[in-house]
Symmetry: C2
Subunit: 122 residues, 2 copies
DNA sequence: CCTTGACTTCAACAATGGTTGAACGACGAG
DNA sequence: CTCGTCGTTCAACCATTGTTGAAGTCAAGG
């Protein structure tokens, strides 16, 4: 168990980029938009904690199901510093629920079309 | 049953816009990008068939699940003129399958995270 | 200490998905 | 035939999601 408030911010932009598969520019972009957090060194360089790369990987998959960077950042905003598995679980649920709702809307629309028959011919 | 090659192109941009809930500018945009088709009057005005509004409504929902306009246009490209319910059925399946795959990727990623435990703490 | 590579910011560019406005043409009701 | 509404194109602009390059700074190894 990690001691609360002991999150270590040690990773550089390049390290997070390598670990997440994103370009360094994208890592900075995600930080600017609240998807990940960083502290600054005395020399003004970003230092990330280990979950940054994970957040980015999740963000990339979430983007594929139609969530915007802002929406993803909003979901992640509920994560405490140094999140526990349970915290991630709730985030996962939120993301899946949101995606499911969109899927349901797609399905419902297509189903209505299918059953309506002439719906698309008016 | 409609006689093949008898699709009637009678709807104006404004009518399709009203029927689909999209702005007229968006209707033109979707036509430019192959989501819908139009014929031109002698006076160079667009005339759409009845399925245009339907395609747009489907496109809007599909965009919400992460499909791009290009991808949606590609899916619709398989629709014949004056499509029958069966044709729409296959389109619907394609869209749902694509969306499902993205959902599955999201789920898989989140599940891996959940079970990995320390995956996000490295 | 000094070099080198990785970091910093900032601005420009790009692609996607549109909206808005100007200037002008088409079409239908009266 | 004329009027008003709707259509046309084109260019500019907007937000989103980044990438690229310039100019300069930090940090770690020799």
């Amino acid at each position: 168990m990690t001691i609360p408030g002991t999150t270590t911010y040690t990773l550089t932009v390049g390290e997070v980029a390598a670990a997440s598969g994103a370009a360094p520019s994208a890592v900075r972009f995600y930080e600017q938009h609240g998807v990940i957090q960083a502290v600054r060194t005395s020399g003004d360089q970003r230092r990330f904690s280990a979950d940054a790369a994970c957040r980015i990987r999740v963000a990339k998959v979430a983007q594929r199901v139609g969530l915007t960077v802002r929406e993803i950042a909003d979901v992640f905003a509920d994560l405490p510093e140094d999140p526990e598995p349970g915290d991630w679980g709730r985030i996962a649920d939120t993301l899946v629920r949101e995606a499911e709702e969109r899927m349901a809307a797609l399905r419902a629309h297509l189903e209505q079309m299918r059953s309506g028959g002439r719906l698309c011919e008016m």
